[in-house]
């Protein structure tokens, strides 16, 4: 190949640990930063999982006293904040970082140093949040970690009600990870718009790239308002401002608006990459090109637009005007349409295909089914009168975990099994992968299917215990039993990653017989990705290479 490849292969194989660590810490390579993002997300996944387990153990039976109410408040705050900002976002950004440049035939992101800066800002945010365990009290008797809930409604966050520094750590944590997110989003957009290889028009980009482009746009529009709201909260807490101070004429409801203007698009920030993984994995394992590519792109952009105008469906119970309620009911129901289009397109892709049920595909099929159910409970919650009944109950908790775990996390697991060979050069163990899938699938359904029922029976969220004899007991027990299966599944997953890293069998460059550009690079790809920048003529460049007698560009 080129002289570059020679130089790389001549490096000594075993360099001292400190030197290798130094390479990783100072790296600006999009693949290494992507992997760092993902490792970072996995570490926090374990932390957030432990917090969830503590909550479920506390709720396993009525009048349980495993943890105090104060600790319970801290656990649900830390669990929510961790899982959204330090698990889901880093995992999503990690995959986008790793895959987008490879898929568009570029050698790196547009701004490699901004990329590293963004990663370390996100890491700093995680550090702030978890440092509060040590430094949060500030005052004798004040709580250690944040306990205001992950959406931190005013006036709970005011100095009066939240003494000590725990809430400050929460603010700083979200502010600095927000800066990181905006940096990465800018980077992703610039990379995708400016660095595509010759021949790759917007209409020939892989769907994953399209979806991440829209995701990055949403990050810019959604995370910035959150940062602005955090600045206001800091002004309130430190400079004596009155933004959210109802005693001085301020408004608690405007915090809700500002938070959910971020909060709901955030759901689409997380779910669009999940759609992206499904849109790459399902065609490859069905042995068919994606069905309805232009419609998929249009539906994505539609979700991006409508997603910006549905936020107040989180606030039906606050008492908005009838006009506002009607608008947000209708916009929320409207967003089910492009999402439905996507589900039908994935089904149509599988229809008549030669489906291979390897682990990545299993997770994606699970996603399809579960995301449909999550969407349907979402439509029920979009009906304002029903939401008045179900708002802030376990029905809501079950609904959004169905989206985030059943939809997003399942495809992320699928993506791990699908792209692990590319990043490491070794296959994940298939038997362990299937075990992981079934354990997690059973655990997920035990926990979150049955969690809907106590919600319908009136069990509110965020209570640390409950009275016996309300018909909630057995359901809470089943929900907690499901956690055991999920935890076992996660342990099998972690073991599989580590075991396969050392002992997995070599994968070669293209183990799945796939069609997008990243599979033409070696596994793992060299620092420069492509010695010769590829040229593409269709949406499936590797298909064209493998089947010169019947290339795709004859049809598109």
């Amino acid at each position: 190949m080129s002289t570059n490849a020679m130089v790389v292969s001549e490096l000594p194989v075993s360099r001292p640990f400190t030197l290798r660590l130094h390479d990783w810490v100072t790296t600006v390579d999009h693949k290494r930063l992507g992997i760092l993002y993902i490792l970072f997300g996995l570490v926090f996944l374990l932390a957030g999982g432990v917090e969830a387990t503590i909550m479920r153990l506390q709720l396993v039976r009525p009048h349980n006293d495993l943890v105090s109410p104060e600790v319970f408040n801290r656990m649900f705050t830390m669990h929510g904040t961790t899982m959204i900002f330090f698990v889901a976002m880093p995992l999503v950004f990690g995959f986008a970082n790793y895959l987008a440049p490879l898929m568009i035939g570029a050698r790196d992101m547009a701004f490699p140093r901004l990329n590293a800066f963004s990663l370390w800002m996100t890491a700093l945010g995680g550090l702030f949040l978890y440092f509060s365990f040590l430094g949060g009290s500030g005052l004798y008797g004040a709580g250690s970690t944040p306990d205001v809930g992950w959406f931190a409604y005013a006036p709970l966050t005011a100095k009066t009600f939240s003494v000590g520094h725990s809430t400050d750590y929460w603010i700083l944590s979200l502010l600095s990870s927000g800066i990181g997110s905006i940096g990465t989003a800018i980077n992703i957009i610039a990379t995708i718009l400016c660095m595509r290889c010759p021949g790759m028009t917007l209409g020939k980009m892989p769907l994953l790239v399209w979806l991440n482009l829209v995701m990055a746009g949403l990050v810019i529009l959604a995370v910035s308002p959150l940062s602005a709201a955090q600045i206001m909260l800091l002004i309130d807490r430190y400079l004596g401002g009155h933004f959210f101070d109802t005693q001085a004429g301020g408004s608690a409801v405007i915090w809700m608006h500002f938070f959910w203007i971020f909060g709901h698009p955030e759901v689409y920030v997380l779910v669009l990459p999940a759609f992206a993984f499904a849109s790459e994995i399902i065609p490859v394992f069905s042995r068919k090109a994606i069905f309805g590519y232009p419609v998929m792109v249009m539906a994505t952009v539609a979700i991006g637009f409508i997603g910006m105008s549905v936020w107040a469906h989180h606030m039906f119970t606050v008492g908005m005007s009838a006009g506002a309620n009607t608008f947000f009911v209708l916009s929320t129901m409207a967003i089910a349409v492009p999402t439905g289009i996507k589900i039908f397109n994935w089904l149509a892709t599988m229809w008549g295909g030669k489906i291979r049920f390897d682990t990545p595909m299993l997770f994606c099929v699970g996603f399809l089914f579960q995301f449909l159910v999550a969407g349907l409970t979402g439509v029920t919650l979009a009906v304002a009168p029903l939401d008045w009944q179900l708002g802030n109950s376990y029905y809501v908790v079950a609904h959004f975990h169905y989206v985030i775990v059943g939809g997003i996390l399942f495809t992320i697991f699928g993506a791990f099994y699908y792209w692990f060979p590319k990043a490491v050069g070794k296959m994940c163990n298939e038997a362990l992968g299937k075990l992981h899938f079934w354990l997690f699938f059973i655990g997920f359904h035990l926990t979150f299917d049955f969690m809907h029922i106590p919600g319908l029976l009136g069990m509110p969220r965020r209570i640390y215990t409950y009275e016996p004899g309300r018909g909630w007991d057995i359901w809470n027990l089943i929900v907690t039993v499901g956690v055991v299966f999920q935890a076992l599944g996660i342990l099998v997953f972690a073991f599989n990653l580590i075991w396969s890293y050392f002992r997995g069998k070599a994968s070669g460059n293209d183990p799945w017989d796939a069609w997008t550009l990243e599979w033409s690079a070696s596994s793992p790809p060299p620092v420069y990705n492509y010695a010769v920048i590829p040229r593409v003529r269709s949406r499936r460049p590797l298909w064209d290479l493998k089947h010169p007698e019947d290339p795709d560009w004859g049809y598109e």
Binding site: A228, M232, D236, L239, H242, S251, I254, I261
Partner: protein
């Protein structure tokens, strides 16, 4: 840079919305119409600096380094004048009218919004001044004009935001 501007615009939008929402909701004085005077002169300074920065980059592209330095320095001067105007206004408000950030809602929203903008002006001035340092060190060349265009884009944005802030604070709010 367009993306960064998009993100910044979203942040300003939230602060502007908060300002508009809280107009007339203060429980105690002083009220905006008693203490605010529209800083017309300093506004003209800031807006004309958009023009000078544009001309400066044109001169650089044309290869006229001396003219570039003149217009670029003029931009910094005009931006600095604007900051001086804001500072003077704040001194008056704080020491004469007794309005601080914790006096009432008007104080909170006013200092936050105008302060956020002044912060962006300051950042812009620092970047503009860095270019001047590069110029005197003899490191600035014609091929850097593309980067300076990006910087001037940011400066135009800061000016455009001021139009909105001015409208909201001194016209609608008063």
């Amino acid at each position: 840079m367009y993306c960064l501007i998009g993100a910044e615009a979203a942040i300003f939008t939230i602060f502007v919305v908060a300002y508009l929402f809280y107009i007339g909701k203060s429980l105690a004085g002083p009220k905006p119409k008693d203490v605010l005077h529209a800083p017309i002169f300093f506004t003209v300074c800031l807006l004309s600096s958009s023009l000078t920065v544009h001309v400066a980059v044109r001169r650089l592209i044309a290869g006229n380094m001396a003219a570039f330095a003149r217009y670029w320095s003029l931009t910094i001067l005009l931006g600095g004048l604007f900051l001086f105007g804001t500072a003077r206004e704040w001194v008056h408000l704080i020491f004469r009218d007794g309005l601080t950030i914790d006096t009432n809602l008007f104080g909170t929203t006013y200092y936050s919004l105008v302060g956020l903008h002044a912060f962006h002006v300051t950042m812009g001035l620092l970047a503009l001044s860095a270019v001047v340092l590069f110029y005197f060190a003899g490191l600035l060349r014609r091929e850097h004009s593309e980067r300076l265009e990006v910087l001037s884009l940011y400066w135009h944005f800061v000016d455009a935001v001021w139009v909105v802030v001015f409208l909201v604070v001194y016209v609608i709010g008063a």
